[in-house]
Symmetry: D2
Amino acid sequence: MGNRHIQGIIPPMITPLGDMNSLDIPGLEKLVEHILSGGVQGLFILGTTGEAQSLSYELRHELIERVCRQVGKRVPVLVGISDTSLVESLHLAEKAFAEGATAVVSAPPYYYAPAQQELIDFYQGLADVLPLPLFLYNMPSHVKVKIEPATLKAIAEHPNVIGLKDSSADMVYFHSLIQIMKDKADFSLLVGPEELTAEAVLLGADGGVNGGANMFPSLYVTMYKAAKSRDLDTVLALQQQIMYISNSIYKIGKYGSSYLKGVKCACSLLGLCSDYMALPFQRFNAPERKRVQQILETLGYTVVNP
Amino acid sequence: MGNRHIQGIIPPMITPLGDMNSLDIPGLEKLVEHILSGGVQGLFILGTTGEAQSLSYELRHELIERVCRQVGKRVPVLVGISDTSLVESLHLAEKAFAEGATAVVSAPPYYYAPAQQELIDFYQGLADVLPLPLFLYNMPSHVKVKIEPATLKAIAEHPNVIGLKDSSADMVYFHSLIQIMKDKADFSLLVGPEELTAEAVLLGADGGVNGGANMFPSLYVTMYKAAKSRDLDTVLALQQQIMYISNSIYKIGKYGSSYLKGVKCACSLLGLCSDYMALPFQRFNAPERKRVQQILETLGYTVVNP
Amino acid sequence: MGNRHIQGIIPPMITPLGDMNSLDIPGLEKLVEHILSGGVQGLFILGTTGEAQSLSYELRHELIERVCRQVGKRVPVLVGISDTSLVESLHLAEKAFAEGATAVVSAPPYYYAPAQQELIDFYQGLADVLPLPLFLYNMPSHVKVKIEPATLKAIAEHPNVIGLKDSSADMVYFHSLIQIMKDKADFSLLVGPEELTAEAVLLGADGGVNGGANMFPSLYVTMYKAAKSRDLDTVLALQQQIMYISNSIYKIGKYGSSYLKGVKCACSLLGLCSDYMALPFQRFNAPERKRVQQILETLGYTVVNP
Amino acid sequence: MGNRHIQGIIPPMITPLGDMNSLDIPGLEKLVEHILSGGVQGLFILGTTGEAQSLSYELRHELIERVCRQVGKRVPVLVGISDTSLVESLHLAEKAFAEGATAVVSAPPYYYAPAQQELIDFYQGLADVLPLPLFLYNMPSHVKVKIEPATLKAIAEHPNVIGLKDSSADMVYFHSLIQIMKDKADFSLLVGPEELTAEAVLLGADGGVNGGANMFPSLYVTMYKAAKSRDLDTVLALQQQIMYISNSIYKIGKYGSSYLKGVKCACSLLGLCSDYMALPFQRFNAPERKRVQQILETLGYTVVNP
């Protein structure tokens, strides 16, 4: 399987949609090239940022196919297969394997809240039958349970389990993961929230799965490299920009989903792709979109689709 | 559409499984007859108790087909179509319609946590395209959001929305639903937890979707009738039995899912069907099963499959 | 100790304040007589509704003294001694004893969240030194922990522990308490939320600690008596009024504390006492007060202090 | 008031107790000298680690007096005045002022959960009357509400408010505080969890209020200095030790309070002071104490009181 040690910035790609059950194909193609042009070290599709759970399986299959073919091994492609049913997760993984993806990513089943031993059972059962290496995905805000450090240690014994993406935003927890996995150097520990990538990488993480990299891939890649090389002046300067984005684009309106809506809206304003969202979400309304435009302009970006 | 006013005890059926991706067909047939023989007023398949989210879509389709055919209109069949994707919910509803089900039941999408307006958008979008009447399913412990009373009022304007099942166990909330829907007499308000069916029916509910009715259907039917006819002595006597079941069979082990495991284990001990569970859950182990056996015997039931 | 079996409606009295650290003495005297005139079976001061935690100890002592003297044994007086420090709880209890109160009421210590065994230790330590009988106070929304049924069973072994007030609004829990205490007939189980008093009493509770009884004591007393005598037509009619109050007066504004503000505002409008509130809360503003006035008038009450 | 810009390691001191309502005076004196000998930049008494809420006011007053006198201005002393009653907070602050403390520290009132505007009202009311500068204390796990960044900005307008200690362990939040306060250079932003002090200081925090510094003050002081001077090799080496302590001493038993019990037990084993704890907590039992001893020995410390 070659190098299984995933490192760097692996953007969780938004899914450009034409309508509820179709892709925005020109937008998708443009977006993929935009992200790759930023020097990212991988691409993660069908994650939380990709609205995976809101899409039909048919559409998820089409997306896997199109993205894998377009990327054409230029960077590793990770495919989200999170599902409440192990069988359905496996179907997605089989498609990812058939299209040449690098690995699959799975959050805990998210309807019933499993106990830690049940998480171990589920992931071992899954890893046994998967045709591709498995990344775990810690996402307690959405799935209601945390993958405890001792649980990770048990699951990571399986040769098919190669990393974990942590979107908990809980750095005490993340440091515990680093500590517990320190003897397994090729196990990838990635952090989700872009606000935390700097400190995570400074203190031992392998990289970030940062949604902002849909809009500004090189910003996050530069941050990663600065942190990796301990260039703290650059880190501090970029951290200010990243916090500005976080506290502006991702905080519009009263929605729990402002982050998702903000990223998709900004990509539309930047001329990359449609901002159509699958239910239960809807795109930002006109005043909200105007606000994103102002922020982009403040940041010095050119809005081509106002 | 005939009588759309669902009332009485509508058991949320467990799904008898042979293994991870197959039904226990003899068990299923036996279980359906056992439940119907208790005089229940309907049957709800593919709910939380039915492990719906853990099953493949193929298996869910097969279950819809088999149960609808076996019941043969003897009682209304309600089919759970809860999903994170509106398109997938619709696919399930189309199957339910094709097989002659009475209505479908949908909890809010459960990965992303929608805001109340987003719930309204989602349910209106769904009700517009559904081929069958829609029951809402309030289940905040599993889906992270509550269908607020004002949200219900907005959604219930849709002619296709005929009722709500509340599994929140929050009786202040349930009384608010009764108050807000009091001008719509044919809207069904059902309560999930069997521990609350007596008081809910005494104070205006239309019935209960009680998991214990998989094991002991006539107990819950008798309770419903006693509450409906204000026979408080009977209500108090049966409430004691129901609380005993709740505090014994549903409280074994340290699992969040003890209720589910307990019901399935008891059905197996009573000789109805297999207790195989889909991951992330596993059936009770031998000492746990022994404990369920003791409880059933204390209750005076005959264990045929120890 | 005479009759320790507390039953009926025991209103949790609001504390009429002149300013941050003084009582509204004429208001207090008027309010006590107003409540007693409704036929209540007891009075509970320094509970959550009494803003106890926001008051200085000096003021709490003064309130104990004044209320006990004014009531003059006409009904039992229960005094809240909830504190994070056992020693300070004891100081309050000593004052209550000195003034002739009937019992004290204590929620779990509310800064650190104790484990269940720690709750047992705390309450046994407290009961050992208290000069008065002890009511437990289950209030998980404010103290972060629930007094589990098995914990209650352990604590209730202490001869000084005579009852529990449950403000969790969790009726499955409350039925478990009834079940677990069924062999101790003189142990009082009272329910806090007035929306649930009817069903609780119908199914075995001893009464209600209902905040609305500050405003309308006879409404809740009549409801209690109707439920006690199984007069379900009266129960249903009064339940509608109670739910109307709950969904109007207690739901004004965006505050978590609307209930508290609503009760105090209504008492002010009815000419009973000041609506001054201790920080961190502040009384309703003019439009909010106007709204309460309209509701009172809709209910047929005369507003004497608009 | 001289230099109000608090920086560095300010240990939250445990409170050595003789019994429920008395100090372990020799232990207290030894502990204060032990901590100061580690080169700390301040001392914080009566915080969460100090079991403040479990102590009587009389005992809190005695502690303020003894510690202020013993420290004798060698370092700033910060005194916790967190209370549910503004009047009682003020009484504590007056004592702190009388004894020459440097500042007071206040978490939001923790029984009722205030809304953000109510937090602003409370803190402004408090700051108006306090005789000493005020540190805010963000502690959502214990007080149920977070001091939102915009709320901090509003409160920090008050000239008497000089800093904030954040114990939320939420670094996205902490970075937002840094961003929002960046124009107020002398406002101190301190982080509570020692596991996060390194990254917080690297990215702009003023220091840490780290409980482990009761046991090992120089470890945390060295870490702070390494982070301040961007000596990342030292930071990484010390971070490993700090995470080892966090995942061993603070994770014994099934208690939510293992951290508190662990620190107090370790201080006892190191011969500093008694490990008596105020209810609702109790000291570690013998096997738990043995486990702490083993960890201390693994870390190379000499256990003088096994």
